[in-house]
Amino acid sequence: MKVSYYPGCTLKTKAKELDKYGRKSAEALGITLEEIENWQCCGGAFTSASDEIATKLSSVRALAEARDKGQDLVTLCSACHNVIKRTNAAMAKDADFAMKANNYMKLDTPYNGETKVIHYLEMLRDTVGFDELAKKVVNPLKGKKIAAYYGCLLLRPGKVMAMDNPENPRIIEDFIKAIGAEPVIYPYRNECCGGYITLEDKTIATKKSNKVLHSAKVAGAEMVITACPLCLYNLQKNGTEDLPVVYFTELLAEALGVKED
């Protein structure tokens, strides 16, 4: 099975592991990630203002390419996922925005939100299935207590992202179970780590990160996993709690036995 894949800028540089292990695992699961040709950076943040058109065109281009290939578009980075899924929803539902964007793009076939955007985790849940995934695990991470960190980008706004219950998600917890480990539920798993403000004010970023890490630690976590490079950076660099943070794909690759070549 082939899907279109949008890695995003960070996965090509500072978050190579997120990308590398994601690709390896997908292959092991029988899915080929076909990188969108000449993709451009999504900009990292979706601007909700209705008169912001140009900043969303790179996402539209990627979406249209996937549509032309007749494939779903898979993303891995939480930020890219948020931007592309929300842009897609705007193209489908906001006729005015879609018209303006199409006027800029001059595509052969105008794009109106036809592509299905899915996060890698959704692909694991809906395409592969967590039960199937569990069967393919060769190194179950037995006894490891892992805290899922959703952050704010993966789930909100809930009506657009529609990935899981935004207040009581379970997709990463189910993933953790599938790779043989034990999920730790803690209240701050869907609260913001303050990553966006790291350039503006490090002290806020530190405060917010520590709140998340502390919450996970009190709940008994030995490790935090995330899909967001900025969360990972912020929790590790600005957070002062001693708790490792890794990409979920790294654990996936480990469990599937494809981590080392």
């Binding site: 943040a45 909700s48 008169d51 900043t55 909100r156 609260e191 350039l199 004010d201 950076y233 590790q236």
Partner: protein
């Protein structure tokens, strides 16, 4: 622009209707950046309704919002205060020379692990 024109602009850009607010304060109850802000999410809604846009534009609060959308997600009336903050911030940085982040300042902020995401996001949020 007059205050009224700015209010209309903000409402148009954000698509928010502040009249839907029932003043429950859940946005400010849930805001992770509350203590950093001079004006809090519920005040944004009320002040936009009253047309006090320039006060909000001048405040540092618009840069303290984490854009985490907690207030948008949890508002029982679907008011979406976060979108107001964003619209007002855009209004502020779109003025000539009002970029909140200057490219020249970037090198000093970098460290070896800082993901690109942080920089592009900051540019998108703080500059025009």
């Amino acid at each position: 622009m007059t205050e009224l024109q700015m209010k209309e602009q903000v409402l148009r850009m954000s698509g928010v209707d502040p009249l839907k607010c029932m003043r429950c304060g859940k946005c400010s109850g849930t805001c992770p950046s509350y203590d950093e802000m001079e004006y809090h999410p519920h005040q944004f809604v009320y002040m936009v309704e009253k047309g006090e846009i320039s006060k909000l534009m001048a405040s540092d609060s618009i840069y303290k919002c984490l854009s985490c959308m907690a207030c948008v997600e949890r508002c029982p009336r679907g008011v979406e205060p976060g979108k107001l903050v964003e619209a007002i911030r855009l209004l502020a940085v779109r003025r000539q020379g009002a970029n909140h982040l200057k490219p020249d300042d970037i090198p000093a902020m970098l460290d070896e692990d800082l993901p690109q995401q942080a920089i592009v996001t900051a540019f998108r949020k703080y500059t025009k």
